[in-house]
Symmetry: C2
Subunit: 320 residues, 2 copies
């Protein structure tokens, strides 16, 4: 009997920033242009009059092979000449933009101002950087994530970057999500996809906004009804987030900060759940939620680990 290999047909990943970008990178290494990544836009923000899309750009730079692995954000070999001048001009610079990165925002804004759509503009940038996969913003309509803390409602990046994720999050809202349509191409690819992978991004503020877009949620439900496997990968390992504040956020919002807690959030949507070996003891409880569990090494320390985890997710599509 042959090994269950990666399935043919489109594969869709739902992703936020860094964690999602790593798995997307592994998936692209396996299936190239058969991959579509639908990225969260709830973290987007205006800086210095420019639209900045942290999750889209993290995924784009990662898939283009130019991500700055040292910093964990931005572009390799980055310089900060503009940031130094912006500071001299008294511009708020807590959201630090590198010079190369600024070119992305400048180009995107220039093209948006000519009347082009957000997705169309993003696709042009990706193509220019040689990205093989397709990265689709979840929506061309603005959706903005806010978190309620003891300091009141904060815009996401204010919480995430300016306040270093220190305030406890009591509530989350996604402004604009209710009326936001799926971006061009998102529903189409979900309606023909052979597999959906929910990347190990923050389930509340990275994947959460994507699932709030009604057209996307409906298309995911249709895919599931069609028998498409929806594989969620836990970003919580040993009770801790690999990166970012997901663990504390889960806890303060009344979830369990564990792979089980993540599985509960995805239980109504996903068919499969990938968790780390360290959390193997949670597998029975996750099975009991009606999810098929897959225990493996989920820590993507290098390109080989990214590709291996990606291959394991892809293999699930072939299993019936």
């Amino acid at each position: 009997m042959p090994e269950p290999g990666p399935t043919a047909g489109p594969v869709v990943a739902l992703a936020g920033g860094v964690g999602g970008a790593k798995l997307a990178h592994g998936l692209q290494a396996q299936i190239g242009d058969r991959l579509t990544v639908v990225v969260n836009t709830g973290d987007d923000l205006e800086r210095h009059g420019l639209l900045v899309m942290p999750d889209h750009d993290t995924v784009m730079y990662t898939l283009a092979g130019i991500a700055n692995r040292e910093l964990g954000w931005g572009i390799e070999g980055e310089t900060f000449g503009a940031a130094a001048m912006l500071e001299r001009y008294g511009e708020p610079t807590w959201f630090r933009l590198g010079d190369r990165d600024l070119a992305t925002h400048i180009t995107r804004n220039a093209r948006l101002r000519t009347g082009a759509g957000l997705t169309e503009v993003c696709l042009g940038l990706q193509q220019a950087l040689g990205v093989r996969a397709t990265i689709l913003p979840m929506s061309d309509d603005p959706v903005r994530t806010d978190v309620k803390t003891d300091d009141g409602w904060l815009e996401f990046q204010d919480y995430f970057v300016a306040r270093h994720q220190e305030p406890e999050v009591h509530e989350v809202r996604f402004r604009g999500a209710e009326s936001a349509g799926a971006a061009p191409g998102v529903v189409e690819v979900l309606d023909t996809t052979a597999l959906v992978v929910i990347a190990p991004s923050n389930p509340i503020v990275s994947v959460g906004p994507i699932l709030q877009v009604a057209e996307i949620r409906a298309a995911l439900d249709r895919a599931r009804e069609r028998g498409v496997r929806i594989v969620a990968v836990s970003g919580i390992v040993g009770g801790k987030a690999l990166k970012g504040p997901a663990d504390r956020m889960l806890a303060s919002l009344g979830h369990e900060s564990s792979a089980l807690g993540v599985a509960r959030i995805y239980a109504a949507l996903a068919t499969d759940f990938v968790l780390d070996e360290i959390d193997a003891h949670l597998a029975p409880a996750i099975d009991a939620l009606g999810l098929r569990t897959h225990v493996t090494d989920t820590i993507m320390t290098d390109d080989a680990a990214r590709a291996r985890l990606a291959a394991e997710c892809l293999a699930l599509a072939a299993e019936r």
Copy 2:
């Protein structure tokens, strides 16, 4: 009898880019915040959706002491990370913007988008950089210089930067100049000024647009009638432009490419004309135009030379 020293009261310089910036720098060294520089905006352009103001910014960087003397434009210690990425994105990059310089355009555009006026925004930038003088754009209304060449009408920077000033200029027009008002503060300072200095910038495309703004021209005429000295400094020395295409442009537009040719252009407006020692033989012909001539070393090779030429111009205000 005491030496005629720099006069008290405001001094106004009319200036374009590099040549104008040097004399303005010398004037600022002499009289600090008593100096107002009215700069040409006809060279301004949109790049990547951002308004770029080459003459304003050259003067601003020079007066702030951060001009890149090596390049002859932009900011000292400049890097070009953004430009490299802009090129990858397929943006036209013949007008090369440095990273630090980009911060100026980004900040200006962000502030303009909040509804602030152009002059107000420029003053904020100057203040942040510690410029002691006041630099006023000639107008808050857009004026754009075009030159007619054998290739047809070209926008100024297309001719100046992209085509390296190679095409012969047959005609010049200043789009928007007829309806442009003087920027806030320009008429006010001209109506109280003790001296006007026309910097050794290109008389056609640097000083020319400023004089095309009716309110400025009228205020200059009033100043002259009031007895204010209007001192023009020749940017043509020995028949050649110190920088740029002024010499060839004068010739192709039917003027004489000499200090005398420049003097003829300013004869109806200026009271005094400063020309280089090398052109001393032209002084009688310039005198005959009704201008008081002043022969001196006009080559501003260093800060001391800038300050000395500035001091000589300032001394003229005290002579009656």
